[in-house]
Amino acid sequence: MAINPPPRQQRALAWSLLIAAMVWLVPANVLPIMAVTETGRGKASTIADGIWQLFEAGMPGIAIIVFVASLLVPLFKVLVLAVIYWRAPRENNPLTSTRAYRLVYWIGRWSMLDVFVVALLAAVVEFGNLARVEPGPGIIAFALAVVLTMLSAHAFSPQQLWIQDPDGADHGHA
């Protein structure tokens, strides 16, 4: 049977990784994730720009998938995890928190979708000055935010939601 670290130690690591993910989410959404050059003219686009372009191109279904995976899920994940970690020392509704944790854990990896789309577009659209897709700095920040959020969820064991933590007064602060 695997032995988990003490709850307080788990929460400290989980908080650290989550805060780092929150920090990286800012440049991930502000900086361009890719730049498209067509007939010599370049246009950089952020995650939100890409979603809007899909809507304008008449592809609302795909736009909604990208919106959910790339914008909604990363923000939802960090907020839900923060609430779970905060409540963990004195959790009075462990069932709801465990269910929320499981949901966040399951959907987390799907946020990598945008990173894969950019990689694919950059690899296949390479026609010199005619048409070219270059990755933007936002993609590094976005990938880091996704991975850090996943690692944060890994660092936390929901078992601690079901036990009374004697040193719970710290409310999860490192």
Binding site: P94, L95, L113, F116, L120, L121, A122, V124, L130, A143
Partner: protein
């Protein structure tokens, strides 16, 4: 359910819920569906009987498709008389150029390295479950690799990414699916079947039961 923790099988007859820590006896009745924790409603395990022979065959079929899925073109793009193809490996290498090297490494990890480890660990554990290894003792190393690789292998998400990229490129150029895409779709589909049916805790219990015989 958190994959890295999994259902911790204390013995072939006992389960420990990874989410709430409740200890449960393994139900004796085999059925369809899954066992769920009565305390936290976590899905503990599949209730079906594991068939290592069939699952190993599917794993070998996935392994055969894996190399062409990596190196054959996923799609072909034609624009104003020019054309270009890209494979999964090209996507990884493209991002490994210059300052985007860390993202390229992440792609290498999630699209090449972890799926490969997933295949190897599934094959190793299923082979052991058939009773072909001298000691059928569950190998903690391969079990851990199998648990982790199920989450960090992201070829299924990459497939959705291909669909979105093809839709985006539809306006810009003519897009034709390549043979690599076919291999990747089938490989991912087979991998999902194996992963759904061969859940780590089930494999571990089967190996423990074999060892106890």
């Amino acid at each position: 359910m958190p994959e890295q923790k999994g259902v911790e099988s204390m013995s072939a007859d006992t389960l420990l819920c990874p989410d709430c820590g409740t200890q449960l006896a393994v139900p004796s009745r085999r059925a369809r569906g899954a066992w769920r924790c009565p305390c936290c409603d976590s899905q503990l395990s599949g209730a079906w009987t594991l068939r290592p022979d069939s699952l190993l065959a599917l794993t070998v079929a996935t392994a055969v498709l894996w190399l062409p899925a990596l190196i054959l073109p996923l799609m072909r793009l034609e624009n104003l008389g020019l054309d270009r193809e890209a494979s999964l490996l090209d996507c990884v290498l493209r991002l490994m150029e210059g300052v985007y090297f860390p993202v390229g490494v992440l792609l290498l990890f999630t699209l090449v390295f972890m799926p490969l480890l997933n295949l190897l660990s599934a094959g190793r554990l299923l082979w052991a479950a058939r009773g072909h290894t001298p000691s059928a003792q569950p190998d903690p190393f391969w079990m851990k690799i199998y648990r982790q690789s199920r989450e960090w292998a992201m070829t299924d998400i990459f497939l959705l990414g291909i669909l979105i990229a093809m839709t985006k490129l539809g306006d810009m150029a003519t897009v034709t699916p390549g043979p690599g895409l076919f291999c990747l779709v089938v490989a991912v589909f087979l991998r999902l079947i194996v992963e759904t049916l061969a859940q780590p805790d089930q494999l571990q219990r089967l190996l423990e039961a074999r060892n106890g015989d």
